[in-house]
């Protein structure tokens, strides 16, 4: 059976020794984020998730959500777990205290998200979607809307959804057909059908607050004519409680490959009452401002499943005995050696470990930059942080979810035939992880966002926020030949590919489009390498005799394992960059000149 313990040691290490979460206490509002609080949050999140969410993961997958007469029932135990979750305040951990939140840094709450997702991705979806609504409303909602809706969203009494997709439009939101008619009282009436609405209907919360993209009858076509509306399942009565039912209904739920305990709904709006969020015809902008956070969150979902699969595989690799070590018998008292002695098993485990831990560090770095972009006193510091986040967001979303699937598959492979059987829980990780490559913008769209928008923004300024620190780091650590050399080589490939793309893509956008996915992976591997070299260097300092004793992890072997995993990453994973580089430099011709009729 799969097993999971929240990787708190690594989270402590990343937060305190790599990204420096303690520095965030200087920012207004984060004064309370002391090391004690951080420690308590991590430990309690681990305890709650391991004890309450993880046990519901398999059963929730087997049972799935049920739909009957417009009502969605979540699997057994979900309601009780959700009630506990809200009672202990987990839903508002990073939200503004003004609305009942705890006001902790997003950098910390991302770790909590990871733990929730690793234990039960389906369950975590109900909370994640509410976060999305919170983030949008808090930035774009009127004071009236914020005061009316945010407190109950923050407490988790109500949950939220993002209603974007329609049958004819997914990526291309300009094709939205849902209509919004203005009413004399300033409200709107919405009519249309939305599909793939996560948490669109369920039995966990008293009310469901939909944020809906729609267009007025006389609005422009395309994305320019799209506005954002808040449409509650239950209208608020005079005291602000959930009152009469709005004309919003669930038409059915999808039967999916995975995240089966997360309801994915068809939501019908039939002259439903709604309220404008932000400015008319500026709906896309409102959506985009919350997308960095949402895409980072989805990236973390992928990496979280990877962590869970890695841990499950390690447990099995220690227990399962099969064959003998190539070095000769290691455990003569057993019928065979545990499979963890076999090189190919170790290769699979280390691949998972290197990807997941590298992703955790990179994701935390981005999360910290989001915190800075929102809170720092200095405008320029805020802007630079925001630009780095904009650059790295598509990379985090696409790469973390790609490696999430890869690691889930490797974890399953370690189990052999037993991994293919549902009861062991490993194949569920593969099915669950698979959606993360698709939703919140497919990974192909992320790659296009990177090469089409982020590279060219302000003449490459976003890019420099990443390139300059990497360059500086490599220069100042030139003495370390072992790790600097491979990273410098990979970074050189990234620089050359970037220069080529900037030129070729300017002349012909299809050059950029054809290179996008491979370029994103090349970039991501370099970014992970940048995290790994820092982790290895910090770890080495802890091991050196003159260590100043500031290491936060006391588990024996932890720091040595960091260095060893870095070595594996540099030697066995980073070399992918050479093939990616070569593919990119071949250009788009072999892709674009292929006759469409011949496919």
């Amino acid at each position: 059976m799969a097993s999971y313990r929240a990787p708190i040691d690594d989270m402590r290490f990343v937060l305190h020794e790599i990204v420096g979460i303690d520095g965030l206490r200087e920012l207004t509002g984060f004064e309370e984020a002391t090391p004690d609080i951080i420690e308590a949050v991590l430990e309690e999140a681990a305890k709650f998730s391991e004890e309450r969410l993880f046990p519901l993961n398999r059963s929730g997958d087997e049972e799935g959500c049920q739909f009957a007469d417009g009502v969605v029932t979540t699997p057994a135990g979900f309601k009780e777990a959700y009630a506990e979750l809200t009672a202990t305040g987990w839903t508002g951990i990073y939200c503004d205290p003004q609305y009942g939140g705890q006001g902790l840094p997003g950098t910390l709450s991302l770790m909590v998200d990871e733990i929730f997702c690793a234990c039960n991705l389906s369950f975590s979806m109900y909370v994640a979607l509410t976060h999305g609504v919170y983030n949008t409303l808090v930035r774009h909602g009127s004071e009236e809307l914020k005061n009316a809706y945010l407190p109950n969203l923050v407490s988790g009494l109500w949950t939220g959804t993002m209603c974007l997709t329609e049958p004819q439009c997914g990526t291309d939101l300009g094709l939205i057909k849902t209509r919004a008619k203005a009413q004399p009282d300033g409200s709107f009436r919405l009519t249309g059908t939305k599909i793939f609405i996560s948490a669109g209907e369920h039995d966990l919360s008293e009310n469901i607050i939909h944020l809906v993209l729609a267009r007025r009858p006389d609005a422009a076509s395309g994305t320019r004519g799209v506005s954002l509306f808040l449409v509650p399942k239950y209208l608020l009565d005079e005291s602000g409680n959930a009152g009469d039912r709005n004309t919003v209904s669930c038409g059915g739920i999808e039967h999916k490959m995975g995240i089966r305990a997360s309801s994915t709904c068809v939501i019908n709006f039939d002259e439903a009452s709604g309220y404008l969020v932000g400015t008319l015809e500026q709906g896309m902008r409102a959506m985009f401002t919350m997308m960095n956070a949402a895409r980072l969150e989805v990236g973390v979902q992928g990496a979280a499943i990877g962590e869970a699969a890695y841990q499950g595989a390690v447990t099995y690799a220690r227990e399962r005995v099969q064959g003998r070590s190539l070095k000769g018998v290691q455990h003569p008292e057993k019928a065979a050696d545990p499979i963890i002695v076999h090189p190919d098993i170790r290769r699979m485990l280390l691949t998972g470990r290197a990807y997941v831990e590298g992703s955790r560090a990179l994701g935390s770095w981005v999360a910290k930059k989001i915190d800075i972009s929102e809170r720092h006193a200095d405008e320029r510091t805020r802007r630079e942080a925001e630009e780095l986040v904009a650059l790295l967001t598509p990379i985090v979303k696409a790469f973390f979810t790609d490696i999430g699937l890869e690691v889930a598959n490797l974890g399953m492979q370690v189990y052999g035939g037993h991994g293919y059987i549902r009861e062991h829980g490993m194949e569920q990780y593969v099915r669950d992880a698979r959606i993360t490559q698709i939703y919140e913008g497919t990974n192909g769209i992320q790659a296009l966002d990177l090469v089409g928008r982020k590279l060219s923004a302000h003449m490459g300024r976003y890019l420099r926020h990443f390139f300059h620190p990497v360059e500086a780091y490599l220069e100042s650590h030139a003495a370390d030949g072992e790790f600097v050399e491979p990273l410098a080589k990979a970074f050189g490939r990234l620089q050359r590919a970037t220069a080529w793309l900037a030129q070729a893509g300017l002349k012909d956008p299809e050059q950029a489009g054809a290179a996008a996915s491979e370029y994103l992976r090349l970039f991501a591997l370099v970014a992970l390498g940048y995290m790994w070299i820092q982790m290895a260097h910090v770890a080495q300092r802890r091991l050196d005799v003159d260590d100043d004793g500031t290491g936060v992890v006391t588990t024996p072997g932890f720091y040595q394992a960091k260095i060893d995993t870095c070595r594996f990453f540099m030697q066995r994973l980073l070399p992918q960059t050479s093939g990616l580089f070569a593919s990119i430099m071949c250009g788009s011709d072999s892709i674009m000149s292929f006759d469409e009729a011949a496919f």
Copy 2:
């Protein structure tokens, strides 16, 4: 919805223009394999599979097999389809006419297998397992056993299974516990439990013939003490028909990620009557002789799912409109352009196409060598063919199933969110393909087989059967700079990695073990490149003005597409070899020195 048409054009091309199936008519027994017969077989297989098997694929997945009181019921329609299949003689297509088969080349029947697997992998399993039993019995069974069992296995009236795995042993068959006690009449009584037995129990056939690995009570431990037995579900009565029930029972079926319509059974033997197949204590040898065919078959399963997923994705990419071409509007009459105009969609489609078509050619080449190894008049020719097959079999099994999953995932990705929904059928391809990387020896085991046994065999003699023709081809086509250069570069990497492995692995087997999976992929990519360059050159000759008119495909654009897909393969996929090479050459240290306790 997914759609599928058997890729008969490409099969014609590969059979006639690449591997030269016509040459097989010179071999004893294959005289009847005329072009007309080959054409008829392909066309009828396509018709039967598209019309009868493909429609049962989704419904079979939803319904799954049911188990109650020891009885397994296959999904609706399977029984009728199986009855039709046997009535039309498909089960014996390549079997010996002496037992009622049609005696056609394995090279041809592999194409039929591909079509069956692409249409309905679960269904095809019932036939494939019977093939495995046929192949083993025909080589190792006594005349008595062959005469008693083969005719009904060939006709499909009875089906077969291979009973190897037990709860404590999968890869390591030396751990087998099932016991066989000799009886005075020369028969045996078998007692034990086998798991993961595909087609172990079902309602399609009148009798089920199990081939069971077991050991006598006083046999040696490890694989040396293992013998092979035939254990029928129903014992034969005096006229050779299925008579009394043997003490073999199904204890349950597994709930699996995919191939849900294929029954995967726990089979209990309780003093069951069985008959020795081959020589006592030579069970492993008997198993191994049928493994080349079985592993090739599983490889083809992977590639077949890849083909089906590719086709489904192409259909969707033509239909789905979303966004506009980066070149500007292509279809102003539509709300958006079909997504097939987007570079990243084309990249995904071409990746699938290049992998699948390359695999089809390589698989057919190996199949032809199997036919030659079994039938050729010249002993040395037979032996050389057999050795090449032995070398390429682990590559075919592991690489085809790896790309099978990759292509299934790409196909699903093209569908976006719709791919994650069960009704479209794309996610089923991912779930179904996933098992092919595991069963019939995990892909890690295939890689070990390649580096541990096949490379070193007879001082590298197997290897030379592949290296020499590739070298010769590259030399004799040096004039073609476009494709020879990238292939020569990749081939050079393979040669250097091989030389290094031969040395390093000799001193330290863990060096070979640590490099195995990457080495296998490197080798496979070169092998695919060798197929692609031949396909491109043949296609170019057909397009040249002085074409001799021997091209067998009349579909417009077919030959040009071959050249264009080759270009894509060389430019965008083959460069992976550089990263693989670099990883291999880093050696095993980063894998083996990692502290076991630190995982």
